[in-house]
């Protein structure tokens, strides 16, 4: 996910995310069958809360090495997503409908307000879309292709915006009852694999 969802005050980061969450209103035609997707996805489509562990492994092509991290997460449709990285350094990320807050050692190292910073709103929306199973929203920003029907399911999201296409090749989502893996492929060859496990849903 790093790379695609990088933000900062810096423009490249901004425009990258900007294209990732390309405008809903600019979208010409929606890809067919989001309602069909929704029925296929079953439980994930109407998840209220989701919690579990994650293992992230990022392959950095340039260095031919892998950077591992792990932690736990909790998603609640009302409260948002908590992304607690435990290794290699404890970092807490909170993404709500209003703001994104990052903490390290109990100290807030970054706080971004949704109202002040529309990028933040966009990121927040994408996270909510993926974890809350809001495929409607996702289909506005990505072309969704079914890789594998049924259970387990696999979908591939390809960005619609030009700018993003130059950085991000695709995002692959895998799941059975719920989402259990994200694979993010960047154009520079980097690949991030996030595996979710012990997922509990309500």
């Amino acid at each position: 996910m790093k790379g695609a969802l990088c933000i900062g005050k810096w423009m490249v980061g901004l425009s990258l995310v900007a294209s990732l969450v390309a405008p809903a209103w600019a979208a010409e035609t929606r890809e067919a069958g989001t309602s069909a997707l929704q029925s296929l996805l079953g439980e994930q489509a109407k998840v209220e809360s989701l919690a579990g562990q994650f293992d992230q492994s990022k392959y950095i092509a340039d260095l031919d090495t892998t950077l591992d991290s792990s932690g736990d997460f909790a998603f609640d449709a009302d409260e948002g997503l908590r992304w607690n990285i435990q290794k290699p350094v404890p970092t807490q990320l909170r993404i709500t409908a209003d703001e994104i807050v990052e903490e390290q050692d109990g100290e807030v190292v970054m706080r971004m307000d949704v109202d002040d910073q529309p990028m933040t709103r966009a990121i927040s929306e994408v996270f909510f879309a993926i974890f809350g199973g809001n495929w409607d929203k996702l289909s506005e920003r990505f072309t969704i292709r079914t890789l594998q029907d049924g259970s387990p399911w696999r979908f591939e999201l390809t960005p619609k915006g030009d700018m993003l296409q130059s950085h991000l090749s695709s995002i692959e989502l895998q799941g059975e009852a719920y989402l259990n893996a994200l694979i993010l492929r960047e154009t520079n060859g980097d690949q991030t694999h996030i595996q979710l496990h012990d997922v509990k849903a309500h």
């Binding site: 996910m1 990088c6 900062g8 900007a18 209103w25 090495t65 910073q117």
Partner: protein, 776 residues
Amino acid sequence: MAHRSTHHWLALLWAIALVFMAVQLTSRLSASAFDTSILALLPQDKRQPVVDRALERMDGVIANRVLLLIGGAQADRNQLQVLAGEVADGLSASGAFTSVTTQADVGSLSALAAVYQPYRYQLLTDEVEERLAKGETEPLVNRAVREMVSPIGRPRPASVVDDPLNLLGMWMEGLTPATGFVPDQHGLYARQGNEHFRVIRATFSGDPFAEATQKPVLRAVESAGDQVRENDVATEFLRSGLVFHAAAGAEQARSELSTIGIGSLMAIVLLLLWHFRSFSYLALPVVSVGVGLLVALSASLMVFERVHLVTLAFGASLVGVSIDYAFHYLCHARDRVTHGIRHILPGITLGVVTSCLAYGAQALTPFPGLQQIALFSAAGLIGAWLTVVLWFPLAQRWLGQGRQQNQLGQWLQGLVRFRGVLAVLLGVLVLVALSGFPGLRFNDSLSALQSSPPDLMAQEQKVQALSESPGSARFLLVEGASIQQVLERTEQASGYLDKLVVDGRLQVYQSVSGWVPSIVRQREYRQLVKSAVFDRGVPTELFDALGMPPKLASRSQARFENNDAGWLLPKDLEQSPVAELFDSLWLKTDNSERPHAALITLGKVSSPAVYEDLAALAGKLEGVRFVDRVGQTSALLGDYRATLSQWMALAYGLVLLVLIVRYGWQCWRVILPPALATVVTLGLLSALGQPLNLFNFLATLLILGIGLDIGIFVRESHGEWHAWEAVTLSAVTSLLAFGLLALSETPVLHHYGMTVLPGIALAWLIAFVLHRRAES
């Protein structure tokens, strides 16, 4: 007979001289012969070429730019954004603009990152520098690790091996463009409370003051405005740009020309026709004033090469005084059967001598504007005088002969009976004026002379506030013997500015050293990175924490040691996406003689006191100066006003000397009308609560010229009625031509008219009340 032929020869000689002047004028006349910049009015010793260049640069940046903001409720931002896109498309399709965009113009900063990449070990933000200097590397390592694994980390322009602590990422983040406009995925916007504004930026080519440029731009923006008004969500449409002010000024001038201008011209023509009942009488004054203007312009361009437009305007009005000579001749010629100029020659000669002395005295002031007005008006008056003296007698055959029924003369004679009433009225006015003097105030501020419509000014101010863009009116100018010295001095100044920013007194500033540190500083930074990062094994700590192989740490170390990029220089940014911005801050030198110079542009300040601090700061630092265009212009107007009023006293003194020679102790009767009229006028304006400025004082020059002519002509002709008719006509036409400017909405003209109107009326009244007609 001999005398007559001499006169003919002289008249012919004058005609030849005029042809010569006209020819040489056409060769000099071009657009570049006229200055419009206020800087050209600065005294020579106060002119600073480098400041001029800086101001030109600032103007150049804003002259061809237009900002349009579409505002509405924050909740409607999506619809506003769509609307902004449509409006931008419409503007683009109009063909009036060379570019129209709703986007930020930062371009791809990844291209900028490529420029900086080789120099990544010698570019540090203040925060990082401070940490490294204190040896606090642990937080930096933790930050780098977090950013590597967090989904929303800071972008990394260089790989973790090349730049383990992501120094370059932090440096680039510090380059945030100084603007209140924020980009989102669809372009630039601004926010104020619950209001949301979409930003459209457009540029056009051509002179913003030219009508041919203004028309298409205005038409396109007008239809954009209609488009916005038709939309339900948009509540505001704000415009900002020099072209709108230029167009509004031109429009105002046009409408005033067609109301006040045509009105006063018609009134003058009707008055003269009514009085003289002949078109020839109408043509002759036009000829004399026209020749006066030709001589004035020709002489001014010969001496000064360039004439300021302000000079032209006020000089021309002073040349208008010369209409007195024509009237004096015509009223005399009409009244008498005897022809010739001899009878009135002493009067108009004394008139031209005193006026030239009074105006010419201004030539000794150090101010180019006053010098030009002095020469222009003196040359014009002499030209008109020569025309009357040499040509008018020859035109006698076209003029009606003999005395006719004369309404004006009869009225004037009738008015004599009311002289007592007029004297009382005058006394009351003097008392009112005296009561005004304790409240006498001066206001030289530029804003008092601001002529743009208030609505346009309000829009401009709101856009400025929203954009938080550095104003072009005040900035710091840094000079040095070399590029590096300029950078070093800029860095010194930046240190102080940073404190102002931290204290919340200055919103933002932009400087060249923010993009390219001096070599001295780059050397310090590189040394610091070496000692605090690479000599201390920080890369090993980092890769350890990341759980990555230790060989990466040694590779990272080797990359640092093998890096030999040299120093980042300003020219390296020339091909980068920020070249334009950087270029606007750097004043390139045309030749090696000139010092190198760069600007530090300033954002909004918390209070005007900050400007005083900045001026003090500039005084302390070598090679740094604070340029305050608003203050500078106000100070200039104040200097002009003070100098003009002092030299007016000298002018009166000189005139008085001439008058004493001619009239002895009776001279007070001649000098009193203009002198008292001026004093009473200024007193009356003060009594009305009006602060005085330069343009009030410029108008008193006109009062002096016309007032003197009234006194002299009447005195020279021993109070004969033809002289009273002439000075009355002259006073009334001046009131119509210049006094009606009081109705103008252009502040400069308004102040001028407000002074001329009572001033000339009073001068006439005083002369009328004072004069004892030599009974015949």
